[in-house]
Symmetry: C2
Subunit: 639 residues, 2 copies
C-alpha cells in the first residue's frame, strides 16, 4: 500500500503546533504565553484532485472536521465508502473546523491522501496540500503530536532535609512518573536543571503534583527532582523522556578528549532543543525565536541534516501571507527569517520549499521596505524592537548592524528571483543591494577607527564587534576593510567582548573563515570547557567565566532564570564540522560537497557527518585519511 | 454589585460564533460549511487598565485561557485572589488560547471586568474590550451561547403508514425530545418545515436519532416530525424550542385582518431568523449573508430595535481588518456591509460602533477601489461573484446596478468622514461620488428607453428593474429621470417582474417613497397573502403564485430546497411601519422621530413601535389618533 498521509492546508499544521509550543511556557505555576502576535490557521478549506481511473475504485474520507465529499456531482458524508466508476472523476472535499486546522485522511487503493492533492482556502490560488511523515496512520490526530518515549531511572537518590532528591544521568524533557508504594497520596515535586534549583522550593521554575490515576507529572525540563516530606523507601520515581526521534547522523571522536566532550554535550543540548520546532531552550522560553532558529539551521545541517524541522520552524515563525508585525516583535529576527530560507536552501537545495514561501518572502521584504528612513536605512516602526544582541550598542538613529542584515536580505531576494529565472527582479535587487552597501559605507564606515560604527547620528562613533562581524560574514566590507576590521576590531581586546553564545557563533564563524583556527579552537576549549568544568551536562544560554559559581544560574534578575540547555550554545558542532573536519555541502540536491580538513590540530580524528542521504565517515590516523560511506545511521556509528 | 462582564478582544466573540453559525448547516446527514473565507479570532491578547484606588482592593481573574496577571510588578496566576494597595496600580492580563478566543472575567468590588478595559492583540493600537450583555456570570463560557428554551407539545399527532406524524403549532428551531415509554430503543426522526418534507424520508433535510441518555435530537428547523416504525402510544414527543430572547417591541392590529396576519407571520419569521446573528433562514442556509442582513437591519429597527444583533452581525460579516476576499464571495454583499453600517447608525446613532469599525470601512473601500476598470467602474476580480439578484441581467462588462451601490458606498464614506469631522476626506469622497454618478449617467442612461441599462458593453441595451430601483432608492437619478423610471420601468408591466422577496423589498420601498401606497398594500396582500393561502406559518425564501402547489417547496433543483422561513420575506413589517404607520426615526440617540401615518387605508389601527428605549403606542379609531408611551414592553402589549 502506498503511504497515505493526513493532509491539510500547507502551513496550518505548523501554525497550530507553533501556538501549542509558544503557549507552553510555565513559570512557577503560571502560564506565560509568548508575547507576540500568534497567527491562526485556516478554518475552512477545500481539497481537490482529479483522477483518471482505469477501473472502478473505492475510497473513504475521514475527518474530525465538519464537511462533505463531492465526487462527480454527488455529495457524500465523511466516513462512508464511496465508489467511483472508471474514467475522469473530479473529487473535492469540503472541511471546516474551529478548534484546530481541518485535516483529512483518505483511504483507498488508487484514491488516497498525499501531498499531490491541492488545497484551497477561499483566498489564494490552489496550492499543494501540507502533510508530515509523522502522520501517516488513520488512528492519529494531526493536532496531537505523539512523542517517542524513553524511560530513565534516577542515577542517584539521596535524602535531603525531610525529603528525597532524585538525579538523572542528564537533562531531559520528561514526564516524571511517581508511584507511592503504600498507595496514592498528594505530593509536590520540585524540578530543576540544577541540584540547587530542585532544592529551592520557592524559586524553582517547575513544581507539580502527580496525577492521581497515572502518577504522571506534566512534561518539563528536568535533571533533578526533589520531593519534600517523604522517604526514599516510600516512592518509586522514574522519568519518561518524551522526544521527537530525529536521528543524530554525526559523530566526532578525536585525540582531544575535551573537544570530544564538548561535541557530545553540544549534540545532546541541540537534540533536546529540536522538537516539533527549533526552540531556544527546554526549560525557558520553550519559544520559537527566529534569530535562535537561524543558527540552529547551521548546526542541524551537520548533526541531523533534517530539512523537515527547518521547514516546520520557518513556517511557524513566518505566519500567514500578510505581514503586520515583526517576527517575535524583533526587526532583526524578521530578517533572519529571510536569511534562514537561504540557509535552508544552501543545505538541502529545497527549491520546492522556496517556491512555497516566495510570496511570504516578498511580503516580508515589502513590510521592511516600508519602514525605512530618508536614506533607505531600515529603522522599524515606533516601538519595534531593534535587538541584534544583549550588548551596549549605540542605538541612536539607524543601527549599523541592522543595515548589514538589511543588505543581506536584498542579496537574498536577488538570489531568490534568480532561482526562478526572474532576471529583472534580480537586477533590481542587486542594484538596491549595491546602493544600500554604499550608503552603509558612506554613513557608518569610520576610516580613523578602521571600523563600522554603531550609529552616525549620535556623533559618538561607538565601535562594537557586531556590525563589523556582519560586515565580514556577509562580505559587505571590501577586502581592505575586512583586513582592517580583523585587526582593529575582532582581534582587538579593547573592543568589548561578545558575552552571549548567540553572537559568539557569528564571531567564531568569521574567525574561522579568516583562518584563525587555532584561536577558535582555544576559545571553544576555554568557553565551552569552562561550562563543563562547572558541571554542565548541556550548554547554557549565557556563560561568563568571571561570575562566581553560586551566581552562575542567575539571569534576568531571577535566581534560576538562566536556561541551562540552550540551542544557540551548540555552535561547536557547526564550527568543528565545517572548519576543522572541513566539510561543506556545495549541492544539497546532488549530495556534492567539498572536504578540506584541518588535521594539524589532531593526532587522530574519526568523524561521521551527514551528506544528503548517506553518512560520510572519515578516519585520520595521523598519517592517512580514509573515507567511507554508510547508508544507514546505525552502521556509521563510531565504535 | 456593578455588572461584571466577560471580556475579550472586540470582534473575536462574533468571529468565533460566526464560524459556529456558518458551519452549522446540515443537509441529509452531511455538514455543509459556508463556502467562503472564515476569519479567525485572535489567540493571544492582553487586557490592560490602570486604577487609582482610594483604598486597598481585592480582585480575582478567571479564564480558561493560558496566562497570568501582572499587577504592579508582580505576576499572579488566574483564579487566585490578588490584593492591591491604594494608589495607582497598572494591571495587565495576558491570555492565550487556541481552540477559542481568550476571554477573562474579573471579580472584585472596584476592580472588575467591563468594556472600560483596553484590549491589545500585538498588532493594532489598544481598543476597548468587547463584551456582551448575555455574558455577565462567572459560571458562563463565552464560547457557548446559552439559548432560552420553551417547550412545545405537538398540536396534532396522527398515524401515517407504519409510523406517527407529529405537528407543532408553528415552525420552531427546536431540539426534539423523545421518550419511549417502554425504555430506550433506536429510532430515526424525520423533520420537515412542511408535512410533505417530514413524510419524505429520502428527501427531507434533517433526520436524526435521539441521544440515548437525554432523548434529545440536535436543534433544527422543525414544524412536522415523522417517526416510522412506531405507534402513537409508545412515544412521548415534545419540541424544546431554543432561541435568543430578543424582545419583540412592536405590534400591529388593524381593520384589515389579512394585513394583521401578514404582520404576525412576518414577525414570527423574523424572530426565528434573529439569533446570535441575522441569518437567511432557519432550515437553510443558516448562514450569515450580508445582503440578507442589510434588509434585516431595517426590519429590526421597527420590530425589536435591538442594536446588539446588528453589531454582532456586522462584525461577523466583515471579519478582520485586512480584506482579501469579498464578503460571502459577492461583490455587492461587500458593499451592502458598508451601507449596513450607515443603516445601523441611522437607526441608533451608534457613533461608538462606527468609530470601532471605521478602519474596517476604509480597508473595505480600498479593497473595492482596487478592482475598478479604466472608467472607475467596479468590476471585481476574475471569479468574483456579481450577484445583485436571481434575475436575467445582462452581465457583460460592468453592471449598472453594481455601480449604483458603489456610488452609494462613496456617499457613505463621505458621511462617515463627516461624522468624525474630517472635511478633506468628505470632499474627496463627495467629488468621487459626483464623478462616478456622472459616468454612470454617461454610460448607462439610455434616453430612448428612459431607463438605466444593465450593460453598455454588450450593445443589447437591456433594461431590468434592478439598477433603476437603486437609482431612485439612492437618489442617483435626478428628479426628471426618477419620474421617467417610475413610469417606464417600475410601473411598466413589460419589464420583467422581480421574483424574489429580496429585491421586492427594494422595489416596494421605492414605490412607497414615491407615494404608490395603495399599490404596495395590494401587492403585500396578494404576494404575502398568497403564501398564507398556501398554509404558510412563516414566510418563504421565494414565492411564485404561478407554480403549482405540489412544487411550491422546490428550489435549486431540490425537492425541499426552498427555505420556508426566510428573513428577507419579513419586509411587510418595515413597509407597514415606516410608510403606513409612518414612523421615521430622525435621531436614534435622542429618540427623535417623525410620525406621518397614512390612516386612509384603515378604519381602525392600533400599533406599537419601538422608539429608543420606549414603546410608542398609537390608536386610530377612525376619527382620532391618540398616542401613548410605554416604558415596558409588557405594558405596551395590545390586548
Amino acid at each position: 500500500m502506498n503511504t497515505h498521509y493526513w493532509i491539510w492546508y500547507p502551513g496550518d499544521f505548523e501554525l497550530y503546533h507553533a501556538m501549542k509550543q509558544n503557549f507552553s511556557r510555565v513559570e512557577r505555576g503560571m502560564g506565560w504565553p509568548a508575547y507576540w502576535k500568534s497567527e491562526g490557521f485556516r478554518n475552512r478549506v477545500i481539497f481537490r484532485r482529479t483522477y483518471d481511473l482505469q477501473s472502478e475504485s473505492e475510497f473513504t474520507v475521514y475527518s474530525d472536521a465538519v464537511g462533505y465529499v463531492l465526487a462527480g456531482n454527488r455529495k457524500y458524508p465523511f466516513g462512508k465508502k464511496i465508489r467511483c466508476s472508471s474514467g475522469e472523476t473530479e473529487i473535492s472535499i469540503h472541511a471546516a473546523c474551529i478548534e484546530t486546522f481541518p485535516a483529512i485522511y483518505i483511504e483507498g487503493n488508487e484514491i488516497y491522501s498525499d501531498g499531490e492533492w491541492m488545497a484551497e482556502d477561499y483566498d489564494k490560488p490552489p496550492v499543494n496540500a501540507g502533510y508530515s511523515r509523522y502522520f501517516t496512520r488513520l488512528d492519529q490526530k494531526p493536532s496531537r503530536w505523539e512523542y517517542s518515549e524513553r524511560i530513565y531511572d534516577p542515577v542517584n537518590v539521596s535524602s535531603v532535609g525531610n525529603g528525597v532528591l532524585y538525579e538523572f544521568e542528564t537533562e531531559l524533557t520528561a514526564a516524571l512518573e511517581i508511584r507511592c508504594r503504600n498507595g496514592f497520596r498528594p505530593l509536590t515535586v520540585y524540578c530543576g536543571e540544577s541540584r540547587e534549583e530542585a532544592l529551592d522550593t520557592v524559586n524553582c521554575y517547575y513544581s507539580c503534583s502527580p496525577d492521581k490515576n497515572t502518577g504522571r507529572c506534566p512534561r518539563c525540563a528536568v535533571r533533578f527532582a526533589y520531593i519534600p516530606d517523604c522517604s526514599r523507601d516510600e516512592l518509586e520515581v522514574r522519568a519518561v523522556h518524551q522526544f521527537i526521534d530525529i536521528p543524530v547522523r554525526a559523530e566526532f571522536y578525536s585525540s582531544d578528549e575535551l573537544l570530544n566532550r564538548i561535541w557530545n554535550v553540544a549534540a545532546h543540548t541541540f537534540t533536546l532543543c529540536s522538537g516539533v520546532f527549533f526552540i531556544d531552550g527546554i526549560k525557558r522560553d520553550k519559544w520559537i525565536w527566529s534569530g535562535d532558529a537561524y543558527q540552529s539551521f547551521f548546526v542541524n545541517q551537520y548533526l541531523m541534516a533534517d530539512p523537515d524541522i527547518n521547514r516546520r520552524t520557518l513556517l511557524a515563525l513566518r505566519g500567514n501571507e500578510t505581514m503586520t508585525t515583526h517576527i517575535n516583535t524583533i526587526v532583526d529576527y524578521t530578517m533572519f527569517w529571510l536569511l534562514g530560507v537561504r540557509a535552508h536552501y544552501d543545505a538541502y537545495s529545497d527549491r520546492e520549499f522556496v517556491s512555497m514561501v516566495r510570496n511570504k518572502m516578498t511580503a516580508l521584504m515589502d513590510f521592511c521596505e516600508g519602514q525605512t528612513d530618508e536614506n533607505g536605512f531600515l529603522v522599524g516602526r515606533p516601538g519595534d524592537w531593534i535587538y541584534i544582541d544583549w550588548a551596549d550598542l549605540d542605538r541612536e538613529g539607524p543601527l549599523c548592524a541592522e543595515q548589514m542584515l538589511f543588505a543581506q536580505c536584498m542579496k537574498t531576494m536577488a538570489w531568490m528571483y534568480g532561482l526562478f529565472g526572474e532576471n529583472e527582479k534580480v537586477e533590481e535587487y542587486e542594484t538596491r543591494y549595491r546602493g544600500l552597501c554604499s550608503r552603509i559605507d558612506r554613513y557608518f564606515w569610520d576610516e580613523e577607527k578602521k571600523a563600522y560604527i554603531d550609529s552616525y547620528v549620535s556623533g559618538k562613533r561607538h565601535v562594537t564587534r557586531h556590525a563589523n562581524i556582519f560586515a565580514v560574514l556577509f562580505e559587505i566590507a571590501d577586502e581592505r576593510k575586512q583586513g582592517l576590521i580583523m585587526e582593529h576590531v575582532l582581534r582587538n581586546d579593547r573592543v568589548p567582548q561578545i558575552t552571549t553564545p548567540y553572537f559568539k557563533f557569528y564571531e567564531l564563524d568569521v574567525l574561522c573563515r579568516k583562518g584563525y583556527l587555532a584561536e577558535v579552537l582555544q576559545m571553544i576549549r576555554e568557553y565551552w570547557g569552562g561550562m563543563l568544568d562547572r558541571g554542565a551536562v548541556t550548554f547554557w544560554e549565557e556563560y561568563d567565566p568571571e561570575v562566581p559559581d553560586d551566581q552562575q544560574y542567575d539571569m534576568y534578575g531571577d535566581r534560576f532564570g538562566k536556561s541551562l540547555c540552550h540551542a544557540w550554545a551548540a555552535s561547536p558542532i557547526y564550527l568543528l564540522a565545517k572548519y576543522f573536519v572541513g566539510l561543506q555541502i556545495t549541492d544539497g540536491e546532488k549530495g556534492e560537497y567539498r572536504l578540506e580538513p584541518h588535521l594539524e590540530y589532531f593526532s587522530f580524528l574519526e568523524c561521521t557527518l551527514p551528506v544528503k542521504d548517506r553518512q560520510l565517515n572519515m578516519v585520520w590516523d595521523g598519517e592517512n585519511l580514509t573515507k567511507n560511506w554508510f547508508d544507514s545511521i546505525e552502521d556509521s556509528r563510531i565504535e
